[in-house]
Amino acid sequence: MDFATSLKIGLKAILSNRLRSGLTILGVVIGVAAVIGVVAVAQGSQRQVTSQIESLGTYLLTVSIRGRGADRVLTCDEVMELTGGIDGVAGVSPVVTGSATAKYGTRKYECTLLGVNEQYATVRDLRLQTGRFLTQLDVSTRQKVALLGQNVVTELFGLSDPVGKEVKLNGQTFAVIGVLAPRGGGPAGTEDDQVLIPVTSAERLIGRRGVSTFYVKGRDKESVGQISAAISDRLYRRFRDEEAYRIFDQTQMLETITNISQTLTLMLASIAFISLLVGGIGIMNIMLVSVVERTREIGLRKAVGATRRDVMRQFLIESALLSGIGGVVGIITGATLARGIASAIKVPAVFPWAGAGIAIALALAVGIGFGIYPASRAANLEPIEALRTE
C-alpha cells in the first residue's frame, strides 16, 4: 500500500470522530505549547541580560578603585603605567564620569559626561556616525573637544549636523568633533545620552582629580583572564588592600549567567515535557479504544489481503497524525503565548527554532512511541476472530 493512501485512511479515521480526535490532539498541543512557551520566554530573558552585558563591549574588564580619599585614586598616567607591558591588552581607557548641562543656542540638555582617552572607542567597540574620535594629542593637551550621543544631538541640533559647531558644557565651550552611532540601552541607562570629552579636560570641568574607574580590553577570551590576574597583582602591590579595588570580568559574568539560564531553561523545559508525555498517554488511550472499536474493520482488511505491516502502519500513521497536528498547533499556540508573556514581563520573545524542531520531533516520537502498542495489538488480531466480533 502506498504512503498517500495510508495517509488518506488515517486522516479519514481522525476526521470521523472529530471531538475525540480534537481532545486527544489538545493534550499534545498543551504539552508542545508549554515546551515552546517556556523556552521562548527563557531564551528571551537570557538574550536580554546577555545583550546588556555585551553592550559593554567584548573581552572587557572593568576596574573600579573603591574607597574615598586622595590615596584611593589613580592618575591617568598611573592607569597607563599599571596596565603597561601586560600581554594581550588591546586597549585601556580611564573613565571619569559626571553630569553636565549641554547648551546650544537656547536649547539645553542634561547629559552624562564621560572623560575618556583616545583608546576608548576600541575598548568599548564604539562606532562613529560622523566626524572623528579623540586623538592622543586631544588628551595630552586638554583640548576642549566633544563627541555627542544620539539623544544629545537630537535635543540640541535637531536634524542639522553638529560637527564643527560649539556647545557649552557647564558653561565652558567645547568644539563638537563627532557624533556617536546609536547604541541603545546599557546596564546604566542609555548610552545615547552621553557626551565624550578628553579625560584630562573632564577632570578640570568636573573639578575632581584622579580616576576611579578604567576599562581594559583583552585581545581574546584567553588573554582576559591573564590580564585580570596581572592587574589584580599590580593593584594589590599599589594599595596593599584587596578591598580597595574590584575587577569585573564581563566575559566570565556572561558565561556564568548563560550557564545558569541554560540550566533553568532545561529544567523548565523538562517539566513542560512531562505534559507532552501525558499527551502521549492520551494518544495511546484513544488508539487502544479505536483498535477495539474497529476490530471488524481490521478483520475485513486482513481478509482482503492487508498484512500485519499494513495494519501496523495504518494505526501508526494515525497516531503520528494526531501528535503531528498537535505539535504544529502547539508550536503556534506556544509562540503566541510566549509573545504575550514576554510583552507582559517586558523581555524580548525569541522564537526557538531549534526548540520548535525538537518539540515537533518529540511530539512525533511520543505519538509513534505510544502508538506502537495499540498498533501491534491491531496488527496481531486474527482475521477470523476479528470478523466474528459484533
Binding site: T5, K302, T307, R308, R309
Partner: protein, 224 residues
C-alpha cells in the same frame, strides 16, 4: 485446484479442546460450483476459514492452486487471500466510512495498484453487479441486497480464482437472495470456482455439487 487431505482443526476453548474438523479429504476442480451444507456447529465455517486461508489447519494438508497453504507464513497467506480469493460474508462486512467504490477498491489497495487503475476496475466491478449508479453511496444508504452486491463486487474486483461465500443469503429476503445467487451463477459461468457455505437448501440446490459436513467429518459428496 483444491486438494484437502485429512484436514483437522482443533481449538482450545479454555481447558476444553474442540475438534471442529476431524479429518476431511476432498478435491475440487477449477470452475466447480460447490455448496457446503451442514447443521450449525458441524465445522463448515471452520472449513470455510481454512479454505479461505484465514486460518491454518492443526493437521493435514491443504493444497490450493498448486501451493501447500499449511506451510505458509502469515504474510504469505495474506498475499494468497489478496490475489486469489474473494470473500462474501453473511453480514456483508462493508466499511461504513467508505463509499461503495472505496469499499470495492480495498483488495487493490493492498495489492499496490495505482489510484486511477483502482478506480476504473472498482467502477467496472460495480457495473457488473448492477450498481454502476451507486458508486458514491455509503453502505448505510444502500439496501441489504445492494450491500451484498457491493461485497460481491469487492470479492471479484481482483479477479480471484476462488469465490468463497459464507451464508451469502442469510441476511436477505428470498427475492434479493435469489438475485445474489443469480450473480454467483454468472460468476461461475465465467469460469471462477465458487464455494458457498449455507444451510439454506434452496441456495444449495443452485450448486452443481454438495458437500455435507456433520460433526467435523465429510458425510456426503453429491454431484447434481
Amino acid at each position: 485446484m483444491i486438494k484437502v487431505e485429512d484436514l483437522r482443526k482443533t481449538y482450545r476453548a479454555g481447558l476444553v479442546e474442540v475438534h471442529a474438523l476431524r479429518g476431511v479429504s476432498f478435491e475440487i476442480d477449477r470452475g466447480e460450483y460447490v455448496a457446503v451444507v451442514g447443521p450449525s456447529g458441524s465445522g463448515k465455517s471452520t472449513l470455510m476459514h481454512l479454505l479461505g486461508c484465514l486460518d491454518v489447519p492443526t493437521a493435514g494438508r491443504y493444497i490450493f492452486d498448486g501451493v501447500e497453504v499449511s506451510a505458509l507464513r502469515e504474510d504469505e497467506l495474506a498475499k494468497v487471500r489478496n490475489r486469489k480469493i474473494g470473500f462474501v460474508f453473511q453480514s456483508f462486512h462493508l466499511l461504513p466510512r467508505l463509499t461503495a467504490l472505496e469499499n470495492v477498491e480495498l483488495p487493490l489497495v493492498y495489492r499496490g495498484v495505482d489510484t486511477a487503475t483502482r478506480r476504473e476496475r472498482a467502477r467496472r466491478a460495480l457495473e457488473m453487479v448492477g450498481l454502476g449508479a451507486r458508486v458514491q453511496h455509503y453502505p448505510n444508504e444502500l439496501s441489504g441486497g445492494e450491500q451484498q452486491r457491493v461485497a460481491i463486487a469487492r470479492a471479484m474486483v481482483g479477479e480471484p480464482v476462488l469465490l468463497l461465500a459464507d451464508e451469502p443469503t442469510g441476511n436477505l429476503d428470498s427475492r434479493t437472495g435469489a438475485e445474489v445467487l443469480d450473480l454467483f451463477q454468472r460468476i461461475n459461468d465465467a469460469g471462477c470456482t465458487v464455494i458457498m457455505v449455507t444451510h439454506d437448501l434452496n441456495a444449495a440446490s443452485r450448486a452443481k455439487r454438495i458437500l455435507r459436513i456433520r460433526d467435523g467429518l465429510l458425510e456426503g459428496d453429491e454431484r447434481v
